[in-house]
Symmetry: C2
Subunit: 452 residues, 2 copies
Amino acid sequence: MDQTMNTEMVAQLEELLEKRSYAKAGGLVKDLNPADAAVVLEEMSEQKTPVLFRLLPKELAADTFAYMSPEAQELLVRGFSDRELDEVMEQLFLDDAVDMIEEMPANVVKRILRHVDPTTRKMINQVLNYPKDSAGSIMTMEYVDLKRSMTVEQAFERIRRTGVEKETIYTCYVTDSRRKLEGIVTVKDLLLARNNEIIRDIMETNVKSVTTHADQEEAARALSKYDFLALPVVDAEERLVGIVTVDDAIDVIQEEATEDIEKMAAIAPSDRPYMKTNVWETWFKRVPWLLFLMISATFTSGIISSFEDALAASVVLTSFIPMLMDTGGNSGGQSSATIIRGLSLGEIQYRDVPKVLLKECSVALLCGGTLAAANFLKLMFVDRVGVAVAAVVCITLVAAVVVANIVGSSLPVLAKRLGLDPTVTASPLITTIVDAVALIIYFNIAKLILGI
Amino acid sequence: MDQTMNTEMVAQLEELLEKRSYAKAGGLVKDLNPADAAVVLEEMSEQKTPVLFRLLPKELAADTFAYMSPEAQELLVRGFSDRELDEVMEQLFLDDAVDMIEEMPANVVKRILRHVDPTTRKMINQVLNYPKDSAGSIMTMEYVDLKRSMTVEQAFERIRRTGVEKETIYTCYVTDSRRKLEGIVTVKDLLLARNNEIIRDIMETNVKSVTTHADQEEAARALSKYDFLALPVVDAEERLVGIVTVDDAIDVIQEEATEDIEKMAAIAPSDRPYMKTNVWETWFKRVPWLLFLMISATFTSGIISSFEDALAASVVLTSFIPMLMDTGGNSGGQSSATIIRGLSLGEIQYRDVPKVLLKECSVALLCGGTLAAANFLKLMFVDRVGVAVAAVVCITLVAAVVVANIVGSSLPVLAKRLGLDPTVTASPLITTIVDAVALIIYFNIAKLILGI
């Protein structure tokens, strides 16, 4: 459903609810996909959201609830009767319930937990205890488990009996009596096998898994690498405790890319969408880095001041400072963005470092050379600054680009080696470093060539 | 399998192959996951890759082939006997075959196409004809189709009969006699239904689909939004022509994030991983933007030259130029990165633009104010430049941050409105614009306050 259709439907629904034509409004939404219904509900005026939510068929209502933002969920929960809360919680998958609870204020959480059965409450609490952004924190415990001695027929029976409430049934997990993971078997394997075959004989025993404390990114990367629909999560004793499903892995991949982009732009990453954060939050996410970079940039003031005599002798040199700084910064930014992304996708490993540095230097010489050639022509024939000044500018240009690429490619690797996040060494930080180095090179070459 | 284990295994295999202990080498790799086997094969020395490939069990060999890079695939294909090529092509899924063929030189493609059956050849050619990065170009035609009049039992029979060769069997597509898509039914629905129920009664008719010419990103976004395992692709007459599976959607999401990051760093995006591109390609991807930005930056030289008198009168002003320019650029970069990512994830819509601009201005005033306050203290008590110069610098700082955020947030939206790619308006371009504006503000405020 696209944006325009959405807006139209919301307007139409608002009008119907205004006129109390509830049956018509209900008819309009009853066949929506839950993801679309969630968008429609969130776009409505706040006092109408609960009204429309109650018009949804029960199952659609629970599914829709899972797709809504924490703010809208809280709004709904506060208005729910005890029975309504019971119904929604019963339908909700475990990982969606945990996602919701993580974002709610304590008093709402308390009320929600009173409305789930003790087993579910125990599972929710267990998942809530795993560290933020760990595989354990995004897993669900609702998977189908089988025993190695079952026949294919018995396996299907078990899937039919327990499958309704499971988030995925397509990969089943074979565990022993101590819940140790012994193998996996897919519904495809089961469908293509004979009814009397034994699970032990058809299961895949080379199972990939992550531990509960592994980073959620590691889990997402494994799912993507092996093209799995779900990945088992095991504890330190290799007992199966849950699974991460592919839809959650996609969310993690999107989130991590957003985080990388934010950090590369010197913003503290935020879990919440831009339109949902207020001005103060946004300020708080941006100002620390701006402040740090501004203070670092004052070093360049010091450098310029210390070469005041040189500048006074040849005032024209001042006018090329911005161009030299910008070009160095841009080139370093290209280099660091490439390396950071390569590290984050696992395309670049430590052992590649010498190769990377060599390549970045070669590219820098080529790029710097091209830029210097273009600039030399402009300086000689457009600006007519004379060959000595043109030479100073162009030599600095090449040197700045080379330094920028060396800094830009080695800092992210160094950061990763030190256990830091490589993304913080992106363009803004590198620009600041390269600026200072470029200025020092510039003035020294100027002194040398112009003899000032 | 992690990196260290990988490297160890490669070393061990190299040694075994050197000693011609083929049986031992084969035993070592026979239980590998295909994705891991592909990594191992690619890490081996080039002349040993084909040897080891031949030691893999047949089915694993074909699966592994699908995970390998185009370069390694080409190396293998060139060495294949006709029978080996037959075997691999028969096992390969259609979309993997297309991926491979897209990257091969013409003579290799010809040979490959001679070794597939005519139906598959027709399908491959059809997919190859869809535009690059369209939904059609990443889809597979190997899906399970059902008829609405079938019973659940008949559906299972059909899945069992045709499912082995299908990339996914978990979502089945119900089509009429003219291949028009009428509904979908999942294997979960089928398993939970009674054997004599009719597909028509259990199928979901509210089907989400994309057209063959839709952008692959649109398909990936729909898969992620609706948590689907596969998304149907239809032609202009709404006839089903293929499906996009979730594993391909993840690849698209990763690729697009990489592309966004590259473009935001002013690099022409590349399909190939960093370690596989040579120096000239990398140079070619980076130098055009550097050149364009360098030439744009020369405007700043013009601005500085035109205020030469003011600078000569108060030399200290020069030393703050880099700090002012960097801070403006950083702030504009934060703003544009946030807006670009929001647009790309669909979190920000056109109707949000007034709200976005208002928010960015408010954040800019807060950030600019904080930075100016910190700087004022430093200028007064550390640099001791006098209140007039300090005022000039701090007022410029606030103005530059405000301008930067307005430019940084409105340019991406404007670009999108004009049908251009918002990512090209990222940090480097914005830095260049903000630099020029910041300098003009700086010198004019200086003239006003310092009366020079």
